[in-house]
C-alpha cells in the first residue's frame, strides 16, 4: 500500500506535513513529499487515511 500526492491538485496547505510528519515532509519547492514509500504497519495505514481527511485540496490518496 502506498500514499500518493497529486501535485497538480495540491494547494500547498501544509496540513499533511504538520499533522503527519512521519509520512510527509516539505520539499525545497514547498510541495509535500512522501517519506515512507510503502505503508507496512497498521499505524502508517491509519495515518495515511487521516491525511486524506485533513487535506483541503483532496490531493492525497492511497493505492494498493
Amino acid at each position: 500500500m502506498k500514499v500518493v500526492i497529486d501535485i497538480e491538485r495540491c494547494m500547498m496547505s501544509g496540513e499533511c506535513c504538520y499533522n503527519h510528519p512521519w509520512l510527509f515532509s516539505f520539499g525545497e519547492d514547498g510541495f509535500p513529499e512522501v517519506l515512507v514509500p510503502e505503508l507496512t504497519t497498521e499505524q502508517q495505514r491509519k495515518e495515511a487515511r487521516q491525511s486524506i481527511q485533513v487535506c483541503p485540496s483532496g490531493a492525497i490518496s492511497v493505492i494498493e
Partner: protein
C-alpha cells in the same frame, strides 16, 4: 541624538494610545528594534514579517508552551479552559489531539457543516432585520459563531443560550485577570458540571457528532481523560467563537468606515467578502500577538535570546511590514501582493504571493481558520441579502479598539450600528 526619538519605553505597550492605535509603535519596532528586549515585561519582541514567519516555522527553537528541560510541560492549572491542547506545546500529544478534530475543521469534513452555518446565519439575520437597524456586535456577531460551534459539537440546541453566557464569561477571563478571571473560572466549572453527564452519555452511546469523536479518540489505545475532553470543549467554544465573532464586526467596520468606496464593489459582487476577510486579517486582525518560549539560545539581528525566554511574535506588526506589502497602511481588498482566499498553514502559495500572518503559521496555525472564513463570509453575505442598502447609522466611529491588546485582548469595534432598508 536622532536615534533617541526611536527609543522605546516598554511602558508604551500598556498605554491607551498603543491599545487604540498600535501601528506607529509597530513601525518603530520594525525599523529600529527588529529584536526588542523588553526588560520591563521580561520578554523579547519580534515584528518584521520575515522574522515572525520564520519563528512560527522554527519549532526546534520556539515552543508554544513553556517546557521543562528534564520533564513534562508546565501546565497553567489556573487557565480558564483547564487543561487543553494549547498547553501541550510541540509534543506528539498535541499533534494527536489536533488530529482528532483536524479532519472536521480543516479538511474534507468541513463541507458537511456548511448547511448548518447557512441555517444559523439565516435564523439570526431574520431575527435582527425587522427594525431597519442593527447593532451588529450584540445582536449578531456575538451570537453567531458560538451557536455554530455548539451545534457542531452536538450540544443540545435548547441550551444554546447557556453557552452564549458561559462563553462570554470565559472570554472575559482570558484577556483580563482579577475578578474577570475568577468569573471565567466559575463559568468554566459550571459548564463542566453541565458537560459531565453529556460526556458520559456519548461514551456509552456515541453519536455522529464532534463531542463523541472527542470522547472516543484514542492514542495508543488510551483516550483523553474527562478533564481533557472538557478542556477541549471549552477551548473550541471560546476560540471558535470569539475570534470569528470579532472578525465579522471588523469586516463590516472596514467596509462602512475605512473603505466605503470599496464597499460599493462588494455590494455588486458579494464574493469579494472573501477578499475583505483576507485584507482584514492582514490590516488589523483580531489577534495581534502570539507568545513563544525559546528552547535554546537563538541568535537574531546580532544578538542572542537566551533559552526559556518569552518571545512575542508580533504578527500585527509583521502584517504591516513595508518590506513585504506595498502601502501596508492602506486597506485595499484588491491588493495584488496579498494572497486572497483560503490560507495555507505552510505560508506558501502556488501564486508566490505572500499570505497574512493573522492565523499564525505552522505547527500551531489556527485550527479553525477554514471554518472562520466560511462563517464570516456566509454571515456577511446573508446579511447583505436581507438588509438592503446597508449604511452606517453614525457618521463617525471611535474605531477598532482593544481593551488590553498586550494580554491577548482581541481587537474589534465595541459596537457597530448599521441602518438598512426594510
Amino acid at each position: 541624538m536622532a536615534g533617541l526619538a526611536h527609543e522605546i519605553d516598554p511602558r508604551e505597550f500598556d498605554s491607551p494610545e498603543f491599545q487604540s492605535n498600535p501601528f506607529p509603535l509597530y513601525q518603530r519596532l520594525r525599523d529600529h528594534h527588529p529584536l526588542f528586549r523588553d526588560r520591563f515585561h521580561n520578554r523579547w519582541i519580534i515584528s518584521r514579517y520575515e522574522d515572525v514567519n520564520a519563528a512560527f516555522q522554527n519549532n526546534e527553537s520556539f515552543d508554544r508552551a513553556m517546557y521543562q528541560p528534564d520533564g513534562p510541560y508546565v501546565f497553567g492549572s489556573s487557565h480558564v479552559f483547564g487543561p487543553n491542547i494549547l498547553e501541550y506545546g510541540n509534543s506528539d500529544r498535541h499533534r494527536w489531539l489536533r488530529n482528532v478534530v483536524a479532519g472536521q475543521f480543516v479538511g474534507q469534513g468541513l463541507v458537511s457543516f456548511i448547511p448548518f452555518v447557512e441555517q444559523i446565519a439565516g435564523e439570526l439575520v431574520e431575527r435582527c432585520s425587522g427594525e431597519g437597524e442593527v447593532e451588529l456586535v450584540q445582536q449578531f456577531s456575538n451570537q453567531f459563531p458560538i451557536r455554530v460551534i455548539s451545534n457542531i459539537l452536538g450540544l443540545p440546541r435548547a441550551d444554546e443560550e447557556k453557552f452564549v453566557v458561559w462563553y462570554q464569561a470565559l472570554i472575559a477571563g482570558l484577556g483580563f485577570g482579577g475578578e474577570h478571571l475568577a468569573r471565567g473560572i466559575a463559568a468554566r466549572n459550571e459548564m463542566w458540571q453541565y458537560l459531565e453527564p453529556l460526556v458520559a452519555d456519548r461514551l456509552a452511546h456515541p453519536k455522529d457528532d464532534l463531542l463523541s469523536k472527542l470522547c472516543l479518540a484514542e492514542l495508543d489505545g488510551v483516550r483523553m481523560n474527562m478533564d481533557e475532553v472538557k478542556g477541549f470543549i471549552a477551548l473550541l467554544l471560546a476560540a471558535g467563537g470569539d475570534t470569528t465573532d470579532k472578525a465579522i464586526a471588523n469586516m463590516w467596520y472596514h467596509m462602512l468606515y475605512t473603505r466605503p468606496d470599496q464597499f460599493e464593489d462588494v455590494k455588486k459582487d458579494p464574493e469579494l467578502w472573501d477578499n475583505v476577510f483576507s485584507e482584514m486579517m492582514r490590516f488589523d486582525p483580531v489577534v495581534h500577538v502570539q507568545s513563544r518560549f525559546t528552547t535554546r539560545e537563538v541568535e537574531m539581528h546580532g544578538r542572542v535570546i537566551p533559552e526559556r525566554a518569552q518571545v512575542i511574535l508580533s504578527l500585527g506588526a509583521g502584517n504591516r511590514d513595508e518590506r513585504v506589502f506595498k502601502n501596508p497602511d492602506v486597506f485595499d481588498i484588491h491588493r495584488e501582493d496579498l494572497h486572497m482566499g483560503r490560507e495555507n498553514r505552510s505560508a506558501r502559495y502556488r501564486s508566490d504571493k505572500q499570505g497574512h500572518l493573522g492565523f499564525g503559521v505552522g505547527q500551531h496555525f489556527c485550527m479553525g481558520y477554514a471554518m472562520a472564513r466560511q462563517e464570516a463570509v456566509i454571515a456577511c453575505t446573508r446579511m447583505m441579502e436581507v438588509m438592503k442598502n446597508p449604511r452606517p447609522k453614525f457618521a463617525t466611529h471611535e474605531g477598532i479598539t482593544s481593551p488590553n491588546i498586550d494580554s491577548g485582548g482581541f481587537r474589534s469595534p465595541r459596537e457597530l450600528w448599521i441602518q438598512f432598508d426594510k
